[in-house]
Amino acid sequence: MEIFNKLKKPLPNRLRVTLLLYFPLICFLGVMIANDPQAFDNFIKIQLSPAILLTDYLAVGGIAGTLINVGLIALMNILLFYFLKLPYTGLMFAAFFTIFGFSFLGMTLVNLIPIYLGGLLYSRYAKIKFRSIIMLSVFAGTLGPVISHLIFGYGFTGIFAWFLGIAVGTLLGFFVIPIARHLLKFHDGFNLYNIGFASGIIGIVFVSVMKSLGYTTQRVVLLYQSHNSIILALLFISCLYLMTVGYFAEEELIKKWKLILPISGRAISDFTEPAGFGATLFNMGLVGLISTVLVLILGGVVDGFMLAAIYTIIGFGAFGKHPKNMWPIFTGAIISSLVLGLPLSAATTLGSILFATTLVPIAGVYGPGWGIVAGFLHVFVVRQVGDFHGGLNLYNNGFAGGLVAGVLIIIIQTLKGGEK
């Protein structure tokens, strides 16, 4: 142990970029191990998919094709962060790992680039630097299926389909920023996946317009549904990697990590500031590990959907989530799944349980009892609202979480005498 302690030192700023580079590298390593001659063709197949929720890219393009997609998206974002000289904050980790996870489930290079372009145009219009809003553009990738579906799903063809998809995607990327900012007040920062809430509302408007014009959106459930050792290894190694780097980057790891536990998780809860970089990385790995073990204990399969959920939790392990505010949400969501008679091992049930942690601020601010209520309600709501936006919003749980939080916090505050 003494040897390990001697090796411990804070991670210098210039080395922090290498911390994230590990993730695309391990994806490309996975591509080599999978040794699939069809890998590139499958990658192209993923790019040309309509991407509606739930489209698991492991089912569409296999392991290698999916890992190329995930690795390239991760690399593109790391380069963007690097050239924009972004600081390594909790929000940055949350954004990076959310997009990393959802690259297994709906995000592609084709449908992300127009959204980033929209964000860039918004920054020019609002006369602010792009680096000030890039995180919002990254999260806004949730609207990727709108673009993919316009190009490949609604039946438009040729250059027109591409023009329409890119133009609408750019417009959405432009307007999602002020809309998301405005809608934050609806739940007062009690729903961590706020862009999902905003995008759900945008999705409802978009689907309504398309439906009125005679273009319908069909929900799909295309899941991988079988264990794969490369994918499981990717996940476990990711968690252990973050915990190990955290261990070596922090001299008093456990003492610093304990500083995270009293934090409510309500926006803004950037753990890198009070607890330091190492303790934050350790927490990210830990919540990822807990979530993975939970999926396996409940008999679930780690597929693209689970990877999206777990990597999002890992990301928000730097910006709001820790074991103390997560357990009540998990408990409430599991109870409601049992009440509804849902099979706990089913991907859709597990997805609701994991993503319900968007509501951890309720447990953090109002206590575990209300946290259990929030998790309980979330499962009921998320099962119904996906059809509203036709699966065009990837963060459906963020949409449901926004509705639950907006209603529940008013109830809690009223019962606590907030008007007195």
Binding site: K129, L136, A180, L184, D188, G189, S264, R266, S269
Partner: protein
């Protein structure tokens, strides 16, 4: 310009409500814009705040400025008393100074407008 002004008033709203909730007594607020820098001064009289509490508040308010967070989260300000609200203010200002004097708490916040 309008957004800049709204952000200043949101900060003032947050700190004003925080101080009045802590001690409902006479409170003076002065906002002095000088070019790109705005100085906000709050004087709350008959305060029962201790030196330790003030130090803790100044620690939260002096967190490093984060434009990326400010651009998105500044609309959360105004619902004072919430646990993370002072943290949002801390991300939006450059420096915070404060002291206790004859039972009054004096807080000075400085914010520079950055693109």
């Amino acid at each position: 310009m309008r957004t800049h002004v709204k952000r200043i008033t949101s900060i003032a709203d947050e700190i004003t409500t925080f101080l009045l909730l802590e001690n409902f007594s006479k409170l003076s607020v002065t906002i002095e814009p000088e070019g790109k820098v705005t100085k906000m001064r709050f004087v709350s009289e008959n305060s029962s705040m201790t030196e330790e509490q003030l130090t803790e508040i100044l620690l939260i308010l002096n967190q490093p400025r984060q434009i990326e967070l400010e651009t998105y989260y500044w609309t959360l300000l105004g619902e004072s008393g919430a646990d993370m609200s002072l943290s949002v203010v801390g991300r939006m200002i450059d420096t915070a100074q404060g002291y206790l004097e004859n039972g009054a708490i004096v807080l000075t916040l400085i914010r520079e407008e950055i693109e």
